[in-house]
């Protein structure tokens, strides 16, 4: 909006032959309970710059072709974790996936993340996911009086759980986990990652309670180390490693 003339110049200079735009097909899994009880694949052909992201393509489809296409996104820059979806069979953030990186020559498959109830198109019911998150008590637990200044921590102690602080709760890991697909009672990688963040925090004193929760039937022992979660994490968290560290803490606590 601020520079309309510049944009115009840009398109004018780009000749017909060397235009960056390509025609890509987006095959989107549509579901609308108000119309049909069955989900269907729908193709959208749009011309788009392959250096743009999948989210830009979804915007283009929603704003220019079909306003009924429903998906979640908030910040659109990989921080809020709203737009996790299954793109070409892999869980990714639509706002961090460039079209050129996922072979736009073939139709690009976009569907909702698995293991959670699809409410409409790409929107799923996240309640079970956040219930598991709540159940591991993802907040600082301390005893005694509150200190008058901040709780100090050495850089080494901070480093211990640095990896798991990066979680944005997008559910890409949990909804890529085959154990979670089959049994929603399993806490899932995301909840364990967020428990890990506090279990290994030197300032926190609730680690014992959280370990007890994750020692449960539906806790870390159900992890089958398939590494789907580590592959799916858009933040590059070593999720499986974090789960294994919780397992090790549980065993060394006992022996």
């Amino acid at each position: 909006m601020a520079t309309p003339t510049l944009e115009k110049n840009g398109t004018a200079e780009a000749g017909f032959a060397d235009t960056p735009y390509i025609t890509a097909t987006f095959r989107i899994r549509r579901f609308n309970p108000e119309v049909s009880d069955e989900a269907q694949w729908q193709d959208f052909q749009i011309s788009i710059d392959p250096k743009e992201r999948v989210l830009d393509a979804l915007h283009k489809i929603k704003w220019e072709l079909d306003g009924t296409l429903t998906f979640r996104r908030s910040c659109a820059h990989g921080i809020c974790g709203s737009d996790a979806m299954r793109i070409n069979g892999k869980n990714r953030l639509a706002c961090k996936t460039l079209i050129k990186d996922i072979n736009p020559e073939k139709p690009i498959l976009i569907e909702a993340i698995k293991g959670l109830t699809v409410l409409k198109d790409l929107v799923v019911d996240m309640d079970p996911f956040f219930q598991a998150y709540r159940d591991v008590m993802p907040f600082l637990i301390t005893k005694g009086n509150e200190p008058t200044r901040e709780r100090l921590q050495s850089p080494e102690d901070r480093e211990r759980f640095d990896d798991t602080t990066k979680c944005i709760l997008c559910a890409a890991c949990t909804s890529s986990c085959p154990v979670f697909w089959n049994d929603g009672q399993y806490f899932g990688p995301a909840a364990i990652v967020n428990a890990h963040r506090f279990i290994f925090d030197s300032r926190d004193e609730g680690g014992e309670q959280r370990l007890e929760i994750l020692n449960d039937r539906d806790g870390v022992w159900r992890c089958r180390t398939t590494f789907n979660c580590t592959d799916a994490c858009p933040r590059g968290i070593e999720v499986t490693k974090a789960i294994q560290e919780v397992k090790r803490a549980l065993i060394t606590r006992r022996f």
Partner: protein
């Protein structure tokens, strides 16, 4: 990929015959056993941890036991053709092979049973199905372990 694809709006095509509208939406497909606020809290036992540890430790021991067993039975000294009543009787005359076979029987059965228990926990959706599948599994395991143990300890080489 078996679902229909079309470049036009596939969903609006079925609108004319649709049973569902804004006031009567179609049922959504819920995932199996989803977690809610009412999900029962854990039992606070260490059973799952011990089961997990047992799988690792018994696995290591079983590698030695089973590969040794296979080598002796099938490869070394004439291979499978030497196995007969006399061969088994000769081996079970020694307490070493009795202990070997007993350990293999118990570890392999419990290892396999725990593995199947995990599979049932993963894939059986309804609590009833889980319960009965596990009962079947435990019955079969106990039966096989007890029968095998009985045979190893009461084996009589003079039987005719």
């Amino acid at each position: 990929m078996s679902a229909e694809t079309s470049s036009s709006s596939a969903i609006s095509d079925v609108e004319g015959v649709s049973l569902y509208d804004v006031d009567h939406p179609a049922p959504v497909i819920e995932p199996p056993r989803k977690r809610t606020g009412k999900t029962p809290k854990g039992s606070r036992t260490n059973f799952e941890m011990y089961a997990w540890l047992f799988m690792r430790l018994s696995g290591i021991v079983l590698v030695v036991l089973v590969i040794g067993h296979l080598l002796i039975q099938l490869v070394l000294d004439g291979g499978v053709s030497k196995i007969g009543f006399a061969f088994v009787a000769g081996r079970w005359a020694s307490p070493f092979w009795q202990v070997w076979d007993l350990a293999m029987l118990w570890l392999a059965m419990l290892h396999g049973a725990n593995g199947l228990r995990t599979v049932i926990n993963d894939y059986a959706e309804r609590d009833n199905t889980r319960f009965w599948l596990k009962m079947l599994l435990y019955t079969a395991t106990v039966f096989t372990v007890l029968l095998g143990t009985l045979v190893i300890f009461t084996f009589d080489p003079n039987i005719r």
